[in-house]
């Protein structure tokens, strides 16, 4: 009797990510802690310090852009969708922001707003192509990505526009060892967490990602939910672009694709324990995943490891992490 109850309890906790136990979210942070300890030891053996002020600054700065993009990506992946257009969108919004500002301090607010508006429109297009034209999310956002790429390649050959010095504070100011932008990123992540876990709209996203048809039959406006998710994701990517403009001093068309933010953000989200099929995952896990990737990068930099080795490790970490999560849900087979 007690055995049976224990088993049902365990099953219940395995399907609900917010119980104690070793949920993916907990695993991510345990892994992050282990990585920080192992990294510190390795760097110390090499004669350096990983977590000094510069190290923390490095990890957090690396996390900011990827974190913004990945938080948006989390929302669409939870809804059962996917966004491959974010990398080009990051570049596009950095250009829109920098060109609108054109070095003048009075244009900061219009520049940021315009960049975010452009991003929102791209998200709207993504969402409408998926819901109204019924295109698969993979193809729809890939198509939009290609359109954006064509626009960027046709109109820009290199950096363009410039941001005023006062706006560059966003990119470089910090409180102690913590960059202001990283705090803003965490604030936005917290907002996304609140939206997903505490509001009706957020619950609808989990419902749509879990099963579109059940959600529709339960009275959820599935189309509207998917479009909202895509708009939010694109606005997050737009913010990442604005931050990059502040950091670089101008707009850069390929800043998003050079860093591979499309696949990288998906990797971070999945590393954070979200299911690609949708309905499972969360912002907290994603932030953990982003921090893991950033810490790995920083450790490798401190150890002066060949940059190409990073990709190898990253790929293996991704596969191993998801294989571990998959152990827990052997009953549900996907793709």
């Amino acid at each position: 009797m007690s055995v049976v109850r224990e088993r049902t309890l365990r099953n219940a906790s395995a399907t609900r990510p917010r119980k104690f136990a070793l949920t993916p979210t907990v695993t991510v942070y345990v892994a992050l802690a282990v990585l920080l300890v192992v990294g510190s030891v390795l760097v110390a053996l090499d004669g350096g310090v990983l977590l000094d002020q510069g190290g923390i600054l490095n990890i957090l700065t690396r996390s900011t852009v990827l974190g913004l993009v990945a938080v948006g990506q989390t929302i669409v992946i939870i809804t059962g969708s996917l966004d491959l257009s974010v990398a080009y969108l990051v570049g596009l919004s950095s250009l829109v922001a920098a060109e609108t500002m054109a070095g003048s301090g009075t244009m900061i607010v219009p520049g940021v707003l315009l960049a975010l508006a452009v991003a929102a429109v791209v998200g709207l297009v993504n969402g409408l192509v998926i819901t109204v034209l019924r295109a698969n999310a993979f193809i729809a956002t890939l198509g939009v990505a290609l359109v954006l790429r064509g626009y960027l390649e046709h109109n820009y050959t290199g950096p363009a526009g410039s941001v005023p010095r006062s706006f560059q504070h966003l990119g470089y100011d910090r409180i102690g060892p913590i960059p202001v932008a990283a705090l803003l990123m965490l604030l936005i992540a917290a907002g996304a967490w609140w939206y997903l876990r505490r509001t009706r709209g957020g619950y609808h996203m989990y419902a749509v990602g879990g099963d579109v048809d059940v959600a529709r039959l339960s009275g959820v406006r599935t189309g509207r939910t998917i479009v909202t998710a895509h708009v939010l994701c694109s606005v997050a990517a737009g913010l990442a672009g604005v931050f990059l403009a502040a950091r670089l001093g101008s707009g850069a068309p390929y800043v998003g694709t050079d860093a591979g933010y499309d696949l990288e953000s998906i990797a971070a989200v999945v590393l954070g324990g979200a299911a690609l099929a949708g309905g499972r995952g969360g912002v907290v896990g994603t932030v953990g995943g982003v921090l893991i990737l950033a810490t790995l990068d920083t450790v490798f930099d401190d150890l002066a490891v060949d940059p190409f080795f990073k990709d190898v490790v990253r790929g293996i970490v991704l596969i191993v992490a998801v294989a571990l999560y998959a152990r827990r849900q052997l009953s549900r087979r996907s793709t």
């Binding site: 192509v129 034209l133 698969n136 993979f138 064509g150 046709h154 190898v312 596969i319």
Partner: protein, 329 residues
């Protein structure tokens, strides 16, 4: 109208598009007034078509293979390093390259089926690993050179009485295409299609789902290796040769009316999708559309193609909701 050609559903639109594009090419460029022009087009398209055929096996069984682009780059870089300009090395290097393709396919397939990781993630991870490993091994830039005999497959041809010179790559493509079409008509191919449609049903019916999926990934890896050999001969050695090919192959497959998520579409249509894509690029080139806008046009076309395909299947999808994929309708 009693006889109708046996086409898998979703095949007809791509064939229409292809014919329209080919006719348009004939009007747009004088080179396409005779067979040689079309043979050149086929030669150019052969690597992508072979990649699309490989991708088809994976997509139709319900997965993605994102690793093919970096696999092509890896194969080309490895080939250049190992052949090192010496004709004596050609044959064993080709064998090794095909073996490497099979190996990568095996890794993809085994992790997907045994560790239950979604294929999207597995092949994304393998993409990162291959990208990093190749450059780690070569130290940043490809070294070595290909031998003339290695490049024959991508560049050379044999003389045929009526057609003039027929490129080797076109012959290889035809062999692959016929073999793939026969494979999909056979029992294994039909079951593979069924796996993409409903793997539970196949498992309950006694089909070996894991082994079928594994076969799909191995075939994709093998064909990517073959495409790399042709592409290396055709275009030479560069570290960017495979960039974006995975998305292009998936685009081609989708353009051929194959449903992402599996279970629907024909392999001939997938190859036709790849040829249409390549014909479209040639046409845009002839019409003087700048290379930069090419990708924008490609984007619009795949959205239109998928939207068109989805309209027809809307009712069917409502009746038979597809569970594991992020299809959102």
């Amino acid at each position: 109208m009693t006889w109708r050609p046996r086409l898998a559903d979703g095949t007809a639109p791509v064939l229409v598009v292809l014919v329209v594009l080919l006719v348009a090419l004939a009007f747009a460029g004088p080179a396409y007034a005779e067979p040689a022009g079309y043979l050149a087009l086929l030669k150019r398209a052969a690597p992508l078509m072979i990649l699309a055929i490989g991708q088809y096996f994976v997509v139709v069984s319900g997965g993605y293979d994102l690793s093919v682009g970096s696999l092509v780059t890896a194969e080309v870089v490895i080939a250049a390093r190992l052949v090192d300009g010496d004709d004596a090395n050609t044959s064993w290097v080709i064998a090794l390259l095909l073996g490497f393709g099979v190996l990568v396919g095996l890794v993809n397939g085994l992790i997907t089926t045994k560790l239950l990781v979604p294929s999207f993630i597995v092949t994304l991870g393998v993409l990162l690993v291959l990208d990093g490993a190749v450059f780690l091994w070569t130290g940043g830039a490809p070294r070595g050179a290909l031998s003339p005999s290695f490049r024959t497959f991508g560049r050379g041809g044999i003389d045929v009485p009526v057609l003039g010179q027929v490129p080797w790559s076109v012959l290889i493509l035809l062999v692959v295409l016929v073999a793939a079409a026969l494979f999909m008509r056979g029992g294994t191919g039909r079951t593979l299609l069924a796996v993409g449609d409903n793997d539970t049903a196949v498992r309950l019916a006694g089909g070996r789902v894991d082994r079928l999926r594994l076969i799909a990934f191995v075939l994709s890896g093998l064909l990517a290796a073959l495409a790399a050999i042709l592409l290396a001969g055709f275009a030479g050695v560069s570290a960017q040769v495979g960039n974006g090919l995975e998305f292009r192959a998936i685009t081609a497959v989708v353009l051929g009316g194959v449903l992402l998520g599996g279970g629907r579409g024909s392999v001939v249509a997938a190859a036709a999708g790849a040829l249409s894509l390549e014909a479209l690029f040639s046409l845009l080139n002839l019409l003087g559309v700048s290379g930069a806008l090419e990708s924008a046009v490609q984007g619009l076309i795949i959205i239109a193609a998928v939207a068109y395909a989805a309209r027809g299947t809307g009712l069917r999808r409502v009746l038979q909701p597809r569970e594991p994929e992020p299809v959102t309708s």
